[in-house]
């Protein structure tokens, strides 16, 4: 009687592509997350200055205010009345006070000293400077009482 040999074929699975795809997925999710974290609103045209430097210490508490004009993709101003942009919502300078008050109350509720909160003003280069002054004064009002401000600008390489 003839018996066939029961040789088990050892099939090897190549793990390399699988690991590579896994790495790619991780990197993709990291990039997506990186874009989500950036609160910067690229619709504003910030002023440029050589000395504008990134903060040396990471600010733990900050309130970011995007203040500028509604512009089309080419940069043409669509509305002459500057607004604050909170996501897709727009409010004017007169309407922003309750929001600032809410922010201040939030930090007080969580026990953060308002002296440790920086108001980051990302204002359009072309808005009237008096409006930025008005905004700062509003932030300093007793019922809001923010004290620290950072005026955002785009770093301009030397010689330009």
């Amino acid at each position: 009687m003839k018996f066939r040999s029961t040789r088990v074929s050892q099939s090897e699975l190549d793990m390399t592509p699988m690991i590579s795809v896994l790495f790619q997925l991780i990197l993709l999710f990291m990039i997506i997350n990186w874009f989500k974290q950036s609160e910067a609103d690229e619709r504003r045209t910030l002023p440029r200055d050589q000395l504008a430097s990134p903060a040396l210490v990471h600010r733990k508490h900050s309130v970011q205010l995007n203040f500028g004009y509604r512009r089309d993709p080419d940069g043409t101003i669509l509305d002459q009345q500057p607004s604050f942009f909170f996501g897709n919502e727009q409010v004017t300078l007169d309407q922003v006070r309750p929001r600032l008050r809410m922010q201040a109350q939030y930090y007080e509720t969580i026990g953060t000293d308002l002296d440790d909160v920086t108001v980051e003003i990302r204002a359009d280069a072309e808005i009237p400077g008096g409006m930025v002054q008005e905004l700062i004064q509003m932030c300093q009002e007793p019922e809001i009482a923010f004290q620290r401000f950072a005026l955002k600008a785009t770093e301009m390489p030397a010689g330009l």
């Binding site: 190549d14 390399t16 592509p17 590579s20 795809v21 790495f23 790619q24 990197l27 993709l28 990291m30 990039i31 990186w34 950036s38 910067a40 690229e42 910030l46 002023p47 440029r48 200055d49 050589q50 000395l51 504008a52 430097s53 990134p54 903060a55 920086t118 980051e120 204002a123 359009d124 280069a125 072309e126 808005i127 009237p128 400077g129 008096g130 409006m131 930025v132 002054q133 008005e134 700062i136 004064q137 300093q140 004290q147 620290r148 401000f149 950072a150 005026l151 955002k152 600008a153 785009t154 770093e155 030397a158």
Partner: protein, 166 residues
């Protein structure tokens, strides 16, 4: 004479999958490190509460350095003044402002080094002046870029004068 047939070419099959995967990984890595947005910085001037009719001296008992920015009807800078002296307009005016501030702090340093750090700048812009000129004025008062690109700081106490009406 007998020749052996030695010219059999063995076909080596190269697995391209890991190579392509690594190429993709590198592309994604470079994409991740590439700065999509323009580098942003900021000015963090010390802005004390300013009320109309506030005292015209600093903590050190010195009068603040006064920078006045005059706007034309279109919001462009028409004149830049430092302690009442007209410095003109345009880029050169800010360069001159930078030199004047440096001169002022150097003089102050010679008189009283301790008081120099308490020196303040008060910026008084017209209401309709475009914000970029205010930032440029703050930049010119803050310092300058050194020869190796490292900023040399002049003053950090920068405040706004009471707002001028429209």
């Amino acid at each position: 004479m007998k020749f052996r047939n030695r010219t059999t070419v063995s076909m080596i099959r190269l697995n391209m999958t890991p190579m392509i995967s690594i190429a993709f990984l590198l592309i994604i890595c470079f994409m991740y490190t590439f700065d999509v947005t323009e580098p942003e910085g900021d000015f963090e001037p010390n802005m004390p509460l300013v009320a109309a009719g506030a005292t015209a001296v600093t903590d050190a008992g010195l009068p603040p350095l006064k920078v006045r920015l005059v706007a034309d009807d279109g919001g462009e800078l028409s004149a830049l003044q430092f302690n009442g002296e007209n410095l003109g307009n345009g880029e050169q005016a800010f360069a001159r402002l930078n030199s004047e501030v440096f001169l002022a702090i150097s003089t102050q340093h010679a008189i009283g080094p301790d008081q120099q750090k308490d020196l303040e700048v008060e910026i008084e812009p017209d209401y309709n002046l475009q914000y970029r000129f205010i930032v440029n004025a703050i930049g010119a008062c803050s310092g300058r870029l050194g020869p190796n690109g490292v900023p040399v700081r002049y003053l950090s106490k920068i405040k706004f004068a009471p707002r001028r009406d429209q």
